[in-house]
């Protein structure tokens, strides 16, 4: 196999893997958007918040310890225990549910019926608020995150040697693919299947789809909007946690984690705001597109780092020709 082609295929595969992670974040957006028409800019910060909470609980950090120390002059930092990963994840899910209830109760209940753009700006405010709270709670330094089922059985790091060897024997060129990316793809697939099953076959899922379809009709057959919104925000919080674990394990838990939310926006533009498959396909297209563009055109001709803007430009072009995205519902305006 010629060298250049092999490189390109490798870049393509890595793009697919990155795309899976974008799609994970985009999924959270779609969930909330479908059910409540809120375009949740805070999804990325929710992922950051979830990942920081998970690390904090795992390491037994005292929440708000910096603030408490500053106010009362004490010197407390840790409880001095280590929590098992699974228990920590369960606790974090609990925190995300409480967060969902709080967000619903204190913010969006008061904004029902407002214009979408007002709701969007409110979620930007929410993103800043959450980021500040997360930093105050757990400190803003870079943290390493790893989830271990037992001693020595953690999320795998590094490149996959097996793929490297097999492809080397088969094609004379070993592909570099991160173990973590493979795990992330599997997890994303399970998550999507789980969400679809939940939406299709459970009572709550049916209610959720009803609300997404028509608020008033759902209300009139006895679906509690409040409950569904809390449910949806909790689900989005759970998706954020999964995305946070994957990104956090890959590149550490830090502020830049919340910026993936920005990357998820073009993914949604491409896939359509209302479509779960659209989020996946859009994520893959963006992931592959930006890696291939950087590899084939960006790095040799444009001075590199085109990944920063490629996704947005692609989405922009796309919007001009097909504003509803690949899988979105057609936008119909009535006066």
């Amino acid at each position: 196999m010629p060298e250049q082609l092999a490189f390109t295929i490798e870049v393509f595969l890595n793009g697919l893997m990155a795309g899976v992670l974008y799609a994970l974040v985009a999924l959270g957006f779609v969930l909330i958007y479908k059910a409540s028409g809120i375009f949740n800019y805070a999804q990325g910060v929710m992922a950051l918040f979830a990942a920081m909470t998970l690390v904090g609980i795992q390491n037994g950090q005292v929440p708000f310890s910096h603030l408490i120390n500053a106010i009362f002059g004490t010197d407390i930092h840790k409880f001095g225990w280590h929590v098992h990963s699974f228990l920590a994840i369960a606790l974090t899910v609990l925190v995300m549910i409480v967060l969902a209830i709080a967000v619903q109760r204190f913010v969006f209940r008061h904004l029902v019926g407002q214009e979408p753009i007002i709701l969007f700006m409110a979620t930007i405010g929410l993103a800043f608020f959450l980021e500040g709270v997360a930093d105050l709670m757990w400190g803003s330094e870079l943290k390493t995150l790893n989830v271990c089922a037992a001693e020595g059985a953690c999320l795998p790091q590094g490149l996959n040697l097996w793929i490297d060897e097999t492809t080397f024997n088969a094609f004379g060129y070993g592909f570099f693919i991160d173990n973590l990316d493979i795990v992330a793809s599997v997890v994303a697939a399970i998550l999507v299947i789980g969400l679809v099953m939940f939406a299709q076959y459970t009572k709550q899922g049916r209610a959720m789809r009803a609300v997404a379809d028509d608020h008033q009709a759902a209300l009139s057959v006895g679906v509690s909007l409040n409950f569904i919104w809390i449910l949806v925000w909790s689900l989005a919080g759970f998706v954020a946690l999964v995305a946070g674990i994957m990104w956090g394990a890959k590149s550490g838990v830090q502020f830049s984690l919340s910026l993936i939310a920005l990357k998820a926006l073009p993914v949604l533009m491409l896939g359509g705001f209302t479509s779960i498959p659209g989020a996946i396909v859009g994520g893959l297209i963006i992931g592959v597109g930006e890696k291939l563009f950087e590899f084939l055109i960006g790095a040799p001709f444009l001075g590199g780092a085109t990944e920063n803007w490629f996704a947005y430009m692609l989405a922009l072009l796309f919007l001009v020709f097909r504003p509803q995205g690949l899988f979105g519902e057609k936008i119909i305006e009535r006066v």
């Binding site: 904004l111 800043f128 500040g132 803003s140 430009m313």
Partner: protein, 358 residues
């Protein structure tokens, strides 16, 4: 906003149509102008100029610009930082290419160039709206910052990739570079701020402003009564980018002096200016000033209270600031969507009737 007051009569059309039809507002306006032009330059020092007044004036211009686009025309933009960068780099290229020309002309030309770029990125607004457009403007933000980072021509091939404002004067008075006087930079920014405010105020209450507001309130209905959406949206983008470009040029040349584009004009700057107009008041020139003042003052006040008085570490205060700003955005959107400007209006009405409100 159409507003009149009891006991305040006008007997000619000119009086009826002046910018501030209420006597109290008019006097307040003259008093503020008098203090800003005649009093402040004599008592200003470096600390006040650099930490409060100059950034306030510059951000006020940016907020006016963004308010025209978001508050008056209803097109949400998250590309403010990118457009400010265009202004800054245009100003830099002009300053270094034509050193003998006055800074006034450079800054205005920088605004014109930014307006052209703004129109270019405003073109998608004809097909898309709402947060779709917000994401499209994000494309402008990231692409422009990348462009200024990667193409050496823009920073004159300097080794650091930064741009540094060379020393330039206007009418023989230094206004850029390290050896400036506080009052000179202050007055230079003040002239632009007052001019922008006057222009913006008159544009928004004239025909073009009414067209923008018609588009904002309902674009289809506006189109039916004869507003050309293409022209209305693109003029809003042009005027808005013009002001934002001027503020970017001033921000670089007068305030910072040296700029690294990703740091000074990143996405956080876009959000900062957006927050100014949400907190200050969407669709209000006074609100732009109020919001700019609030968000320039807040970090300074927090620093004085938190770090200097209470002795907290700076990072806690920085995080607390995020919480406060985010919380305020939500509170304002829920409780008072028209921001500080509306609070001020309500307070005036209450005070006029006080203490007998009925």
């Amino acid at each position: 906003m159409f507003y009149r007051e009891a006991g305040d009569f006008s007997s000619t059309y000119a009086e009826d149509q002046q910018t501030f039809p209420i006597r109290f507002d008019r006097y307040r306006y003259y008093v503020v102008l008098f203090i800003a032009i005649v009093v402040v330059p004599f008592i200003i020092n470096d600390y006040w100029a650099n930490s409060l007044l100059v950034p306030f004036l510059i951000y006020a211009i940016a907020a006016i610009g963004l308010n025209i686009l978001v508050g008056y025309c209803g097109q949400v933009s998250l590309g403010t930082g990118g457009f400010m960068a265009v202004g800054a780099y245009a100003c830099y290229k002009l300053m270094t290419a034509m050193p003998e020309v006055s800074m006034f002309i450079h800054v205005i030309l920088a605004g014109v160039i930014t307006a052209a770029v703004g129109v270019l990125f405003g073109l998608p607004s004809l097909r898309i709206k709402g947060f779709y457009l917000a994401v499209a403007t994000l494309a402008a933000q990231f692409f422009l910052v990348w462009l200024f980072n990667r193409v050496p021509w823009f920073y004159n091939y300097s080794a650091s990739g930064q741009i540094n404002a060379p020393e330039r004067d206007t009418f023989g008075i230094l206004i850029t570079g390290p050896n400036t006087e506080a009052w000179a930079t202050y007055l230079f920014c003040l002239i632009f701020t007052i001019a922008s405010a006057v222009v913006a105020r008159n544009l928004t209450r004239g025909a073009s402003g009414r067209k923008w507001m018609a588009i904002r309130d309902m674009d289809i209905a506006a189109e039916i009564i004869g507003v050309n959406p293409l022209r209305a949206k693109l003029t809003a983008f042009a005027v808005s980018s013009f002001f934002i470009g001027i503020s970017g040029a001033l921000f670089f040349a007068i305030y910072l002096g040296a700029v690294e584009v990703g740091e000074a004009f990143g996405i956080t700057k876009s959000f900062l200016v957006l927050f100014m107009i949400i907190i200050g008041g969407l669709g209000s020139i006074f609100g732009s000033f109020a919001g700019a003042a609030f968000l320039v003052l807040l970090p300074v006040v927090l620093k004085v209270v938190g770090v200097d008085w209470l002795g907290w570490p700076t990072d806690i205060v920085a995080h607390l600031q995020l919480v406060i700003v985010g919380g305020l955005i939500i509170v304002f959107l829920i409780a008072e969507p028209h921001g500080i400007a509306q609070l001020w209006r309500v307070a005036k009405e209450k005070l006029r009737l006080w203490p007998f409100p009925h």
